[in-house]
């Protein structure tokens, strides 16, 4: 049953009671982050992979073992699947010591080997000396490590992590990121991590899948998904706030640009030949794609996509400053986060205006909203 290093492929569909339309794949040795808002079906999908939830339709295959196939009536139990599962609140057995919690995951080994193996797993997650403590006597980070040791002790075919860092403080989280990254290097199995934190996905994941209402919207490398969402829903999921309407004017293949008419302006974005001239589209620009005129570096060159904006509001937040600004004749306002120092240098305040340049390589064209 065990297939370490094997690829996991999941295709699930159902309309009710929890809508699912998911198609994900995770090769052995890779970490896939499933990102989506609360109620997007992330945990249900994870439980379906573990065999804890039986969907109506679909197929789950790990290596050459079929775990679930509704057409053939196959549904292996969680006990048969050999998954390592770390629930959001760890699901530790509160009446057992840390050592006994790990031993509970070692039923596949002869009884006389279990204690020693459990001890070595606890040592591997830096918990040597705490074997006799019960979960209530451990900190959040230590509990998470026990849960991880218990999941890995089973020598699972797949490791499933449900929001593994949501219940620990920031400092512990940073340490656990490093430990998970190191662990991932040593493990050849597919790891699926549910999270709603894009930074976690960027830090740890090889691939990322966006999920909304039980549907997988987009999969790819985290940076690519964040820079080039396939739809407005996906864009909003990855935190894009600057979304606007536009009309395709022409494509310039040589320059790799698509020209758009936005209000009275012509601006250029990354080439998107899928849209014929005249098509109504949406376009987005991340905050990092908006360049402001800096006094130190002199004026912006007279390049393309240079616009004059009128500042609507300025909100200092720590060392940074959140700005909303009106693009000429374009709704809704543009949102920016810039260093506070730069805002002071440019004397940005409500009512003042300044020049910005939208970086064409970061201006991404999307399908029109439904």
């Amino acid at each position: 049953m065990n297939c370490p290093g094997s690829d996991l492929s999941v295709k699930l569909r159902q309309a009710a009671p929890i809508p699912l339309d998911a198609d994900i794949a995770c090769p052995g040795g890779e970490l896939l982050a499933m990102v989506g808002p609360s109620g997007s079906g992330k945990s249900t999908l994870l439980r379906a992979i573990a065999g804890l939830y039986r969907p109506l339709e679909g197929r789950i295959v790990c290596g050459d073992v079929c775990w679930f196939d509704h057409a053939k009536g196959i549904h292996l139990t969680p006990q048969q699947r050999h998954v390592g599962f770390v629930p959001q609140h760890y699901g530790l057995f509160p009446h057992m010591t840390a050592l006994d919690n790990v031993i509970a995951g070692l039923s596949h080994l002869p009884a006389q080997l279990r204690e020693e193996r459990a001890g070595s797993w606890l040592a591997k997650v830096h918990l040597a000396g705490l074997e006799r403590r019960r979960p209530a006597e451990l900190s959040g980070g230590q509990q998470q490590r026990v849960a991880l040791a218990r999941a890995l002790a089973r020598e699972p075919a797949v490791l499933l992590l449900d929001e593994p860092f949501s219940a620990v403080d920031r400092a512990t989280r940073e340490t656990l990121y490093v430990e998970l990254a190191e662990l991932k290097r040593d493990l050849a199995l597919p790891i699926i991590m549910v999270t709603h934190d894009l930074n976690e996905a960027l830090l740890l994941a090889d691939r990322m899948t966006l999920l909304a209402h039980g549907r997988t919207l987009q999969s790819g490398q985290p940076r690519q998904v964040i820079a080039q969402p396939v739809s407005e829903t996906a864009a909003r999921l990855v935190g894009v706030r600057n979304l606007f309407d536009g009309e395709v004017l022409r494509h310039d293949q040589a320059a790799g640009l698509t020209w758009l008419k936005v209000g009275d302006w012509e601006i250029a974005g990354r080439l998107a030949q899928g849209w014929a001239p005249g098509s109504r589209v949406r376009w987005m620009i991340p905050g990092s794609g908006v360049r402001l005129r800096s006094l130190a570096r002199g004026d912006l060159s007279d390049g393309i996509n240079r616009l004059r904006i009128v500042i609507k509001s300025v909100l200092p937040l720590g060392d940074d400053c959140r700005i909303t600004a009106q693009l000429p004749g374009i709704d809704p306002p543009l949102n920016l986060q810039i260093p506070l120092r730069l805002a002071q240098e440019l004397s940005l305040k409500p009512g003042s205006s300044t020049d910005v340049m939208l970086r064409d390589r970061q201006l991404h064209i999307l399908p029109p909203s439904q």
Binding site: P78, G91, A104, Q143, R154
Partner: protein, 227 residues
């Protein structure tokens, strides 16, 4: 004079009730805690009915259903050679029925208190149904099970109405300690009634105190992690 026969009969009745009721209540409470199904609220209401119904009403229906006039009563008499009513076995049945809510509800709440993540993790650890029940669920639900045991036992010892209706007051057969006290008061033997009442009072306080203390100790030991 203490009516030792009546006291022993009460203890025997309480023990039999608990032994027969608790295993069934365990599985019923667990099923009610974990599963959602159509008609669950109705079933829960039905199981809780003995809490609000006067015991004499339960006794009346049992008498009607199990008496010599009904086909159930006649069948039982043909099968076992004796009727259920006015017999110890009838008392046990009546006592089980009136104690259903006292046994099922604490057990149901106890199983509901086990986080589903703990059961999920157990399944993913390869722990099957019976091992999970014995090594994970029962140790965690133990305070509730203990409460169910104590409540059912103590409630049986104190049960009066249904016992009188179904069993009458046959010494050594159906005359429990509560009936004995009633009989002594009827006979103006207030001294004997007072001694037995005091004994029952102390017994009840001791049992409940012990159960609470034990439950709290186990509860502390099995404290769920806080976040």
């Amino acid at each position: 004079m203490m009516d030792w026969t009546a006291l022993l009969l009460s203890i025997k009745l309480g023990t039999m009730t608990v032994l027969l009721l608790l295993p069934a209540a365990l599985f019923a409470g667990r099923a009610l805690a974990y599963h959602r199904f159509h008609g669950k609220p109705l079933l829960e209401a039905l199981l809780a009915v003995p809490l609000v119904l006067p015991p004499t009403v339960v006794g009346y229906y049992l008498l009607v259903c199990l008496g010599g006039q009904s086909w159930i009563g006649q069948s039982i008499e043909r099968l076992f050679g004796q009727p259920l009513v006015f017999h110890f076995s009838g008392l046990v049945l009546a006592s089980i029925i009136v104690n259903v809510p006292f046994a099922v509800q604490p057990i149901q709440r106890a199983f509901e208190g086990i986080p589903h993540e703990v059961r999920d993790a157990a399944a993913c650890c390869g722990i099957g149904y019976w091992r999970c029940l014995l090594t994970v669920e029962l140790p965690l639900a133990w305070p509730g099970i203990l409460t169910a045991l104590v409540l059912s036992f103590a409630h049986t010892i104190g049960e009066f109405g249904v016992v009188l209706m179904v069993g009458g007051s046959i010494p050594g057969e159906t005359k429990t300690v509560a009936i004995a006290i009633y009989d002594q008061v009827q006979a103006f033997d207030f001294n004997a009634a007072g001694r037995m009442s005091l004994f029952l009072l102390l017994f009840s306080v001791a049992v409940l105190g012990l159960a609470n203390g034990l439950g709290r100790r186990i509860g502390r030991r099995h404290e769920l992690p806080r976040f």
